[in-house]
């Protein structure tokens, strides 16, 4: 896919993620024991042969910038093209805070203009999925679409969760005839997965027109308004897909990683998921360790009980500690006889001796970064 460039939209605020995205962009949320959410879409692009990627970011992007660096972990530290990060910037020509996705792209129009790929694939940075984007391009070309939107049958979503997505309606040729952003009453379970394919020249002219009319949002102001004028097609994505937007779906999606079929699809088949590495030694288990149905990253040190949980890098679980149904991020320490159930511990949390935290499946407890409990 050397004729396609990538744009990742990473910066929109997700209040439902509470403390987890208080100090980080939602795309930078730690996920699956060693990753951050953006690793999935970025690796999908790289695995599909895309070598020119722009990341548009807005809120609390420090941890995201730190994570992405020069892009070398994704093999995107290139002499030509590679990885570009575009935080908002102030300058004389009225630019500044991005007012929406179209506005963000418009502010970086020079990036789109000086690139020479024929197509652009636009994706959100907070989706957990494995996608071969080349297939979508083939489809886009075959149906001769102006814009192709990837959608998925959300058979595994609750009705309530569906209303946080963009619901599509297709005609018999898969042309999109209706697109509703976050409808209160979803009419179907076919939802956009936030991945769009478009010719670069068309994107540039649509953005210019949109901003000229004082509009800012790619979906609302371009796609929905032009459903009749442009030929917008739906491309069905059939794999696993989750969008991290609330504590509850972050928790559920994380727990899906304990499912061998999901893990196989995401991490083994069709390319690897790349991330920033940390040079930790392998995990060490002592005599008392009892670990079942759990994911454990390098650098962990385990002397306690761990069940149905995800341990990120460098987590210490002392003797007598019991961790169940929980997500423990990097560097946390669970001291002797402490216990956790349905909890999400952000980075470097210390749960002191004998303390006990318990949430519910539908309402996991979140402990924010660097706290001592």
């Amino acid at each position: 896919m050397t004729n396609t460039m990538g744009i990742i939209l990473s910066g929109w605020k997700k209040p439902a993620l509470k403390d987890l995205s208080y100090k980080r962009s939602v795309s930078a949320i730690p996920f699956g024991g060693k990753y951050r959410a953006i690793d999935f879409v970025l690796s999908n692009m790289v695995n599909s042969g895309i070598t020119n990627v722009g990341v548009l970011t807005q809120y609390s992007f420090r941890s995201l910038m730190d994570h992405l660096g020069s892009g070398k972990e994704w093999d995107l530290d290139r002499r030509y093209d590679g990885l570009f990060i575009f935080p908002p910037s102030l300058s004389d020509d009225e630019s500044g805070w991005y007012r929406g996705s179209a506005d963000a792209m418009y502010h970086n129009l020079s990036f789109l203009k000086r690139s020479n790929e024929e197509y652009v694939i636009i994706s959100q940075g907070n989706s957990i999925f494995k996608m071969q984007m080349g297939d979508m391009l083939e489809y886009h070309q075959a149906v001769n679409a102006d814009i192709t939107l990837a959608y998925r049958k959300m058979y595994d979503y609750s009705r309530e969760d569906l209303s946080s997505l963009g619901i599509v309606k297709l005609d018999e040729n898969n042309r999109i005839i209706d697109l509703q952003e976050k409808p209160l009453n979803p009419q179907s379970d076919l939802a956009s997965i936030g991945v769009y394919m478009i010719r670069r020249s068309l994107l540039i002219s649509l953005l210019e027109e949109c901003i000229a009319h004082g509009d800012y949002d790619f979906v609302k102001d371009i796609m929905i308004k032009k459903l009749d004028i442009l030929s917008i097609y739906g491309y069905e994505f059939k794999g696993y897909w989750r969008n991290i937007s609330s504590v509850r779906n972050y928790y559920r999606c994380s727990m899906d990683m304990l499912n061998p079929a999901v893990r196989e699809e995401l991490f083994v088949k069709n390319g690897k998921i790349y991330t920033k590495v940390k040079d930790e030694a392998p995990a060490k288990y002592n005599e008392e360790a009892e670990v079942r149905n759990s994911i454990v990253a390098d650098g962990c040190f385990i002397e306690g009980v761990v069940e149905n949980s995800i341990l990120f890098r460098g987590v210490t679980v002392a003797k007598g500690a019991v961790i169940r149904n929980s997500i423990i991020m990097q560097g946390a320490v669970i001291e002797q006889d402490a216990s956790l159930n349905y909890a999400i511990l952000d980075k470097n949390v210390v749960l002191t001796k004998g303390k006990c935290l318990k949430g519910e499946y539908d309402y996991p407890v979140v402990v924010s970064k660097n706290s001592v409990v």
């Binding site: 893990r263 998921i273 930790e280 995990a283 002592n286 995800i310």
Partner: protein
């Protein structure tokens, strides 16, 4: 160009023949260790942690894996504009070409490399040992003693001393005598094969040694004795800490097993002295509801559905349901099928152990073909081997690299026997 005070020359060309099938296609420094590393990582990480960013790596024996591993030195932060890692392999000269004839000759054939970096001091290292050492402390000692050569030594038990090069020193550390493997050692200070030389002096001795027809061109046997007999200022620098030469199957196995102890003598988890290596691109490991891991070291990408006890598992090892791995080392991407029982064995990379295979049963009889190598009760399976279902394998068995199920003539492989590729001996 910033002038380098010190550069390192790392000798990585040794075969390590006593590691048997583990070093059949790889130099000893490239052998996997500790669930993630190759042996050379320790010396290389010591260099960068000691502030040495210029390292010449001398390779000779089977360098493919080593070259692949080191690349341009990225994992050690040694991909530098000025210095960094340089792989130095033997090369053709105008009228002849030759292999490195000894440790000293390997350096002397690369005098041009060192001259170009123009350091004041050179540290000579071997990529064969497991240890963490701050070479900058040793350099300080070298400078302070106004030495021309400093040899790092470690106190060894008296009964082991006759296996090493022993330094006899004055109370201030100055060396007055060096004895290679003495029958009656006068001291217990063994050379670790880590030397700092003032380059100007070493350069002179290397050229002189090259011209001696009867020399074996070895640091320990030739260069150091020559310098001593000339009365050069040579000092012993005492190192304290974990230092292991993992040159035999038993030493290699024991040193790996040291890592699984409750408080390992050798700490890989020290944030101030990290050991670097290329990181595999694999998800964190997974322990299934049927799996159980105790007293072990497990790397990323492993999938554990069976039981693991007192073992070291490298990235991507798959342990099926009902399998039991005890007191063993299983290297990258090997697959242990259902119902296997593995005890006291070393499984190389990409090995497939078929259903119900049992390794490490029976008497402890040394290997018939290579009793000097396989004699400590440990069975070694070479890289890429496929062991057929239901095979029962004894102790001290050697299974060659890439053997196929048809190379096994029986499903009972008694202690001390060997299985070769194509069924034939070498």
């Amino acid at each position: 160009m910033v002038k380098k005070q010190i550069i390192a020359m790392l000798l990585a060309g040794g075969q390590g023949s006593r590691l048997g099938v583990l070093t059949k296609k790889a130099a000893k420094p490239a052998v996997l260790y500790g669930g993630k590393y190759r042996i050379i990582d320790f010396s290389l990480s010591n260099c960068i942690n000691s502030g040495i960013d210029t390292v010449g790596i001398l390779t000779q024996y089977q360098p493919l894996k080593l070259n692949n591993h080191i690349g341009i030195g990225k994992p050690w932060d040694m991909d530098r504009m000025n210095g960094g890692v340089t792989i130095l392999s033997p090369y053709m000269k105008e009228d002849s070409g030759e292999w490195y004839k000894g440790t000293a000759n390997a350096i002397s054939q690369n005098i041009d490399y060192v001259d170009k970096m123009a350091p004041k001091y050179v540290i000579i290292l071997s990529g064969d040992h497991i240890y963490k050492m701050n070479y900058s402390e040793m350099l300080k000692f070298h400078v302070k003693s106004n030495a021309e050569a400093t040899i790092s030594v470690i106190d060894v038990p008296y009964e082991d001393a006759s296996r090493y090069g022993i330094m006899n020193t004055e109370p201030d550390g100055r060396i007055y005598e060096f004895e290679e493997k003495p029958k009656k050692p006068k001291s217990t200070l063994a050379s670790m094969g880590v030397y700092i030389f003032t380059w100007e002096i070493l350069r002179e001795y290397l050229i002189r040694d090259d011209q001696k027809a009867d020399s074996s061109h070895d640091f320990g046997k030739d260069v150091i004795p020559a310098m001593l007999s000339d009365g050069r200022r040579m000092y012993a620098y005492k190192f304290q800490g974990y230092w292991k030469d993992v040159g035999t199957i038993q030493a290699f196995w024991e040193s790996n097993m040291d890592l699984v102890k409750r408080v390992p003598e050798f700490n890989l988890y020290d944030p101030d002295w990290k050991i670097y290596t290329p990181n595999p691109v694999k998800p964190p490991h997974y322990v299934a509801p049927t799996g159980s891991v105790k007293t072990s070291v497990v790397a990323e990408g492993c999938m554990i559905y069976g039981k693991v006890r007192n073992s070291v598992l490298f990235p991507g090892v798959y342990v099926e349901k009902g399998a039991l791995i005890e007191n063993s080392i299983v290297m990258s991407n090997s697959h242990v099928a259902e119902g296997c029982v593995l005890d006291h064995c070393i499984i190389g990379e990409d090995v497939i152990v078929g259903k119900g295979v049992n390794i490490g049963v029976g008497e402890n009889i040394p290997n018939e073909d290579k009793p000097g190598i396989y004699n400590s009760g440990i069975t070694v399976v070479g890289e890429g081997a496929r062991i057929p279902e239901g095979t029962v394998i004894g102790k001290n068995v050697m299974i060659d690299m890439h053997v196929l199920p048809e190379d096994f003539c029986s499903d009972r492989i008694p202690s001390g026997s060997s299985i070769y590729k194509g069924g034939e001996r070498e």
